[in-house]
Amino acid sequence: MTLQLRRDRPLLAPYVTGGIRPDWTDYLHEYARNGADAIEIGLPFSDPILDGPTIQEASDAALRRGVTVRGLLDEIAAVDVGVPLIAMTYYNLVVHRGAAEFCRDLAAAGIRGLIVPDLPVDESDPLASAAVAAGIELILLAAPTTPADRLAAIARASRGFVYAVSTMGTTGSTFAASGCRLAADLRQLTDQPVLLAFGIATHLDAVTAARSADGVVIGAALMRRVLDGGTPAELGAVLAGFRKALDEDGPDCVP
């Protein structure tokens, strides 16, 4: 049960904040049904330093509802949506539980990968070992300012795919073409998929990104709709739109 992403189409990985609504796992089903190749689930943390206002708001809302990692994992374990699930959270929640236990808990809930935005490659050894032991993949992030030697190290150490942050900013920032160069550089360094993330809000963004990368992560743009009351079905329809745009391709990446 490793994280093996398909390579036959531009990858589409939508995001949802765990526990944002009581029926939040329905978003997983709808995402899966409407073309997701993997789903990123945010495990809410009180101090999300790489998240912009939208995902901060979503995390706060979920925490106010009283969600816990334990509870979310129980809910996740109870569903099977047919695409790989990836957890995204901050390092304190890992440390608090203990890296080994945390990874085992994820694996037991059926989660295949883990993204920790405040854990750079230099600090990742303990968690990487725990992840290996638990049989989940620790996915690392690269940024537009990452120098070449670090980029190589990240590309080497990341498992499952490489998470390329498109822009110098938080989730929900405006998509920047700098991301296309980063993704292209990364693809020189690894055979694993490279997914571009942060700020992908429109079909044009997604298509642009997918010309340079193997796929995209869409987070804040979806969560904005969820926070505005979008139902699982409505979000499914939104995702279907992205799927279609990606599959049909579109204009070139305008640098």
Partner: protein
Amino acid sequence: MTEIALPRPAASVMSDPGAVGRFGEYGGRYVPESLIPACAALEEAFRDAWADPRFRRDLDRLLAVHAGRPTALTPAWRLSAELGVNVLLKREDLAHTGSHKINNVLGQALLARRMGKTRLLAETGAGQHGVATATAGALLGLDVTVFMGEVDIERQALNVFRMKMLGAEVIPVTSGTRTLKDSTSEALRQWVTCVDEAHYCLGSVMGPHPYPWMVRELQRVVGDEARQQCAAEISTGTPDYVVACVGGGSNAAGTFAGFVDTPARLVGVEAEGGAAAAFGQVGVLHGFSSYLLQDENGQVSEAHSIAAGLDYPGIGPEHAHLKDSGRARYVTVRDEEVVPAVHRLARTEGILPALESAHAIAWVIRAAESGELPPWSTVLVTLSGRGDKDMATLMAAS
């Protein structure tokens, strides 16, 4: 007396934490990849500057002619007589802008200029670090943006005005608890967007490497001066106890650095409602690992203290290491002890300490009165700041 372990050898403590930025198991650089190059560049620039006699000379001169260093060492005559221990006060309240924060900030601002930066970002809670940063920015011609929680902006309107007078932009932070913890998060988020031109001027011995080390080095002037002054003032040359309040822990770290290789017992005093060393568990926040107040699910707890500057759920990583190694001891003081300590120092010495600093005084009073401090032992207390900023709080409390 019985409770206090003898100091361990100091060789391994308060030294250079190396490229990994570790103090024992604590510290590190837990920030998004986007910030790693900036942190690395900062470390390199600081190492270079700190080894450069010209930088040191420039900073020393700034500290002397602008910030008013050295600050006095004041024997607290009447308090000493009342308590039966010799209390010496290191007077950071006399430093320009009213607290030790200026030491750190002048160093970082000078470094920022050396790095070619044109802007400073800073987080602030009570506003002391924000005012200090605005001051350094004005003096060195750097734009300053200060992030401050909406709640704190309301509580500290005067300091907001001071920052604006000094030409700084103050950005309200509306996320989370809308206090210091959240303004720190927001400063980190914003730094990502402008790393090229901006230096993040962090206010205490926390954050990703090299901050905890760099801020301690910039604050060690407090301890170094005090050590020299103690040598002139005390027959035995060094005090028996060295006491400082701990929010993030910069005034304590700077003070301890001057005495870590002496037999002095080091005591850090936390606010009971923000006592990460006393009640926290190991965790990671704002780029470093240390003791951290958190709930049973690992969510970071809100700190609560009458002293806004101690209202932080974490503690600098070096303090976590000093605690584990036994070289320093961490104690807590309740809000109810702090206000009387302010009054007591005001009435005995004519000094109105900051509520933060009054925590250190409150512990000395308690420890002297309980007999924990041996009669006529010598106690150096760092008075980290002046109480003028706290008058409204004290008026409400009286």
